[in-house]
């Protein structure tokens, strides 16, 4: 039995099992939890082969799905998607865990939808056939849409429809591109298409490349989101029920970034390099703009939502720097962001459960009443801010370094985002947890053991990612190197590809900006 298939289909099996439980059954929650944890355990078996040969596909499963169209049901893991698969299988049980106290109504359906969502996301991360990728891409969308709309806040319908229509509009453009490639290359298998492009049997004009690239980009940009396609995000994060927000921010936002890294850079290298400039600028706008908006938010969920826009801007910048460090940092940041933002949303969920509000003004002085909660929040927040020794620092540092190699100005502007994140996070923390407790939150309980349970693994992972990066970074680097080589294979390099091999670090960052100025004038 293929471990990857097992990991993928366990959640789906759980989805079907839940359909047969009686309505509002007490056993729905444990059933869903068991299936999601089983998927997590199964996914651990993927690490070995993927870490051993990160630049190749391992645990692959490939079978012909639709013969006449040459569609392969092709799944595999390598050094890139293994981490995202693990992130998903780790976070989904946590999402189910925290749902128990938050979801009171039609819980069978809700848990079934979470499992279906997991099935879709795992499929997206492991698909190596463009058609299959698209199928899973949409499969992940539907349950999330119903979760947001069915269990969300007062404006849930508006949020859900906006989320769906935005995503769908982006996706259909990707579908157009996928069909076009399929017609051109005679199939949808990623490796076959790459081989056809590289060997020159299928040639795309630069015009074609550009439009196909844009088709993919729109779909991914909506999901990430990249400015200016982010407007669905705040309202959706705000209105979604806490577990759904958690999954949206921690897991689903990685789908877009993963797509950019895996498909956009390798399938259309020329177009990707040509567009890198303005995409990086959009990413930086997202970083700064998201940070500025986060400062003025009065709602915790919206604040963390905008901080996500800012942090994911870093990921996009890292990818489109086309540097080893940038790509490594982007992938690392995806994992770290998933953990940190996930933890923040879990904790916001706990606050919401206690106070039935996510408005910052309803809180204050929580640290005195619930020191445990405040401490956990502090750690997650500091990770999110990018404090050294916690995961996000490594990711952000690598991204900034990669960006500096590509264009020093980018790095300088992006660094503003780091400062902004300190501003909005610390200010939010101060208003929420410090100061005088409000009168009506006098009976505020600290975290119970059951509530600590999902937080502890997240904190351990944040510290691990921050302090001992080697087990993660080595396979990531190897896989990214392979990917960047592919991306750079058939094009004239317009972007400096590698930093000077034997210069000092200081020299290798600065000359990018200086030598340009010197040569130019």
């Amino acid at each position: 039995m293929n471990i990857l298939l097992l990991t993928l289909f366990l959640p789906l099996a759980g989805f079907f099992v839940l359909q047969f439980l009686p309505r509002n059954s007490k056993s729905a929650w444990p059933t869903a939890l068991i299936f999601s944890i089983a998927a997590f355990i199964a996914s651990l078996g993927l690490i070995g082969p993927a870490a051993a040969m990160p630049s190749q596909q391992s645990s692959a499963f490939d079978t012909l799905w639709v013969e006449s169209l040459n569609i392969h049901f092709h799944l595999a893991v390598d050094g890139i998607n293994i981490w995202l698969i693990l992130l998903t299988t780790l976070l989904v049980p946590i999402g189910i865990w925290i749902s128990e106290s938050l979801i009171k109504d039609r819980n069978n359906t809700f848990y079934a939808l979470i499992l279906l969502f997991e099935f879709g996301v795992l499929g997206v991360f492991s698909a190596f056939d463009l058609f299959v990728f698209y199928v899973f891409w949409e499969v992940a969308l539907i349950p999330m849409y119903i979760m947001v709309g069915g269990w969300g806040g007062a404006r849930r319908t508006y949020a859900a429809v906006k989320f769906f229509v935005f995503t769908m509009s982006g996706s259909v453009m990707m579908l157009a591109s996928i069909i076009y490639i399929g017609v051109k290359a005679g199939g949808f298998d990623y490796a076959q298409i790459l081989a056809a492009f590289n060997s020159g049997t299928v040639v795309l004009s630069s015009h074609e490349q550009l439009f196909l690239f844009l088709g993919f980009l729109v779909a991914f940009a909506v999901k990430v989101p990249i400015f200016p396609l982010h407007s669905w995000l705040p309202v959706t994060y705000w209105q979604a029920p806490a577990p759904a927000t958690f999954l949206l921010a921690a897991v689903m936002s990685k789908m877009g970034a993963y797509g950019l890294l895996r498909f956009c850079t390798t399938l259309f290298p020329t177009a990707a390099h040509e567009c890198a400039g303005w995409i990086a600028v959009l990413a930086i706008i997202g970083i700064v703009y998201g940070g500025l908006l986060a400062i003025v938010q009065v709602d915790l969920k919206k604040l963390v939502g905008y901080s996500s826009v800012s942090h994911l801007g870093f990921v996009v910048l890292g990818i489109f720097a086309f540097q080893q460090q940038g790509a490594d940092g982007a992938l690392f940041q995806m994992i770290a962001h998933g953990l940190a933002t996930g933890a923040l949303f879990v904790l916001v969920g706990y606050l919401e459960k206690r106070r039935e509000s996510t408005a910052i003004e309803d809180y204050g002085g929580v640290a005195k009443l619930a020191p445990g909660l405040a401490t956990a929040f502090m750690i997650a927040m500091l990770a999110s801010v990018g404090l050294p020794a916690l995961g996000n620092f490594v990711g952000e540092y690598l991204i900034l370094q990669g960006a500096a190699y590509a264009n020093f100005t980018w790095a300088a502007w992006a660094a503003v985002g780091v400062i902004l994140s300190i501003v909005y996070m610390l200010w939010m923390y101060q208003r929420t947890f410090l100061g005088k407790p409000q009168q009506d939150i006098a009976r505020f309980q600290d975290l119970s053991i059951k509530e600590w349970a999902p937080i502890v693994p997240l904190i351990i992972m944040m510290v691990w990612l921050g302090c001992y990066t080697a087990p993660f970074l080595q396979p990531i680097s190897a896989a990214n190197q392979h990917l960047l080589e592919r991306s750079n294979m058939n094009i004239e390099l317009k972007v400096r590809n590698h930093p000077p091999a034997n210069g000092t670090p200081g020299n290798s960052i600065l000359p990018a900006a200086f030598s340009e100025a010197r040569n130019g004038r």
């Binding site: 006449s68 359906t109 949409e138 709309g149 453009m173 579908l175 069909i179 399929g182």
Partner: protein, 489 residues
């Protein structure tokens, strides 16, 4: 020569489905007169038996494909596919009608025999190889459907629906007939293969203008029957006014058969002048998608919404038609298979929720259906997601296949605009899901009666069919591709 023409036995075999339907239809009318009110329910089941018989006959007829009655009928994969498809449509609609007619207290054999007669017309349309057969098939199908649309003659909306459908329909048929006359006048033939030969040979082809006029006239007739813009005005009104199972039938069966004959006539007889009708079709396809989708955006009545959506779907199908290739024909066939299932499924659920006299047909009447009847709601959600074109449903694969055919024929702009349209469509289809899953139950869902067994079977069958087509499209894809090869491009 015609005088001493003896009909070989195999010719009867090739129209066996029509013969079976005819026998059952007449038997139903006779039995209608002699059965008591209590026994009327059995007539519905008898008509189901007839349709199953015709379906088997259809498969049996395909064991000896070929021409019949001096090339007036042709039994090939394409025709067999569409005959099978309209029979499936008839089967599902009769199933849904069983409970519906009992609820309305209007059980009668007449209703079922009209469906069978309409199916005869559609079967003839699917296999017609001669313009006269095209016309006869269209008339048999249409006249029965006109009566079905106004079956509840005391209901004002039914009357409006039937009258509108009849007046506009006969007007369109007149265009078609005029086109046929024009063709006969200029070429002296009405046989499609012969026309193909004559029009493809520059030395004997008549003036391009004359042929162009004839083709245009016929296109008007067909475009009306498939409810393509700008001849779509009737569709929302008629679907809204007719009773739901009949709307389901009208939006699926006659449409599928009309597409079959539209394709056959234009790809064979007018195949050689395709460069002249393709631009026209391009515009009609785009216009249908736009009018259908934008018209549906503002609807509050579910049946009307589905009426507009059926216009949009005609547009998607025409995109594949515009590709003018074997791939395009295969895509049309696949699309129609998925379309009839999802559309019938949606109409059948609506007919269930609508309750007696169809009081509850607004979108908000579906509110909270997921709490009252989770299974029905889940199935309607599947139909709606299929109509949107979400993966793992037949609707997605159909759309994928259509746009693949279009890109294969370098119709890049039509593809981009079509896909953009399908994103717009998501907005109004989602209203249905929103009502079912995101709102509290209202008056309509609270008083919902039990699901009639026939209705239940129809819903299950449509939903399973859609999932089957979406997950394992290979069940019909090879057959469809093979059948499309008769159109040699």
């Amino acid at each position: 020569m015609v005088g001493n023409y003896l009909v070989p036995a195999v010719d009867y075999l090739r129209i066996l489905p029509e013969i079976v339907l005819c026998i059952f239809g007449i038997a139903l009318m006779v039995l209608e007169a002699v059965t008591s009110e209590k026994q009327k329910a059995a007539l519905g089941w008898l008509s189901l038996l007839g349709i199953i018989g015709a379906f088997i006959a259809n498969l049996y007829a395909y064991t000896s494909p070929g021409f019949a009655f001096q090339n007036m009928i042709t039994v090939d994969g394409f025709g067999t596919f569409f005959r099978g498809l309209v029979l499936v449509v008839g089967f599902l609609c009769v199933l849904a009608s069983l409970g519906y007619l009992r609820r309305e207290g209007a059980e009668s054999g007449e209703y079922y025999s009209l469906i069978l007669f309409s199916l005869i017309g559609q079967c003839i349309l699917s296999t017609a190889n001669d313009l006269i057969m095209v016309f006869i098939g269209l008339e048999i199908s249409s006249i029965a459907t006109y009566i079905l649309a106004g079956f509840f003659r005391n209901d004002r909306r039914n009357n409006e629906s039937a009258l509108k459908y009849f007046l506009l329909g006969s007007f369109a048929t007149a265009f078609l007939l005029y086109g046929i006359a024009w063709i006969y006048g200029t070429t002296g033939s009405i046989n499609l293969d012969e026309l193909h030969r004559v029009l493809g040979d520059p030395s004997i082809a008549p003036s391009a203008v004359l042929i162009g006029v004839a083709a245009a006239l016929m296109m008007v007739g067909f475009a009306f029957k498939v409810s393509a813009a700008p001849f779509q005005i009737w569709a929302p009104d008629v679907y809204q006014g007719a009773s739901s199972p009949v709307s389901a039938f009208m939006s699926a069966g006659p449409k599928a058969a009309a597409f079959a004959v539209f394709l056959r006539v234009f790809m064979t007889a007018f195949g050689s002048i395709s460069s002249r009708w393709i631009p026209l079709l391009w515009a009609i396809a785009l216009l249908s998608m736009i009018i259908g989708n934008f018209g549906a955006l503002l609807q509050t009545n579910v049946k009307r919404l589905l009426g507009y959506s059926s216009i949009a779907h005609a547009g998607y199908i025409l995109v594949a038609f515009t590709a003018d290739s074997q791939l395009g024909v295969a895509a049309v066939m696949f699309y129609l298979a998925a379309y009839v299932l999802m559309n019938i499924g949606a109409f059948v659920v609506v007919s269930h929720v609508a309750s007696k006299r169809e009081r509850y047909v607004r979108i908000e009447d579906l509110a909270g259906l997921s709490r009252r009847e989770p299974v029905t709601a889940a199935f309607l959600a599947i139909f709606v997601f299929s109509l949107i074109g979400v993966p793992l449903t037949g609707g997605f694969f159909a759309k994928f296949y259509v746009f693949r055919a279009a890109l294969d024929a370098h119709l890049v702009w039509l593809t981009v605009l079509g896909l953009a349209n399908s994103a717009i469509a998501a907005y109004y289809y989602l209203k249905i899901v929103v009502a079912m899953y995101m709102q509290e139950p209202g008056e309509a869902t609270n008083q919902l009666g039990p699901l009639a067994p026939g209705t239940r079977i129809a819903i299950w069958a449509s939903a399973l069919g859609i999932l089957l087509l979406g997950i394992f499209p290979s069940v019909i894809l090879p057959f469809v591709s093979r059948s499309a090869m008769i159109f040699g491009h």
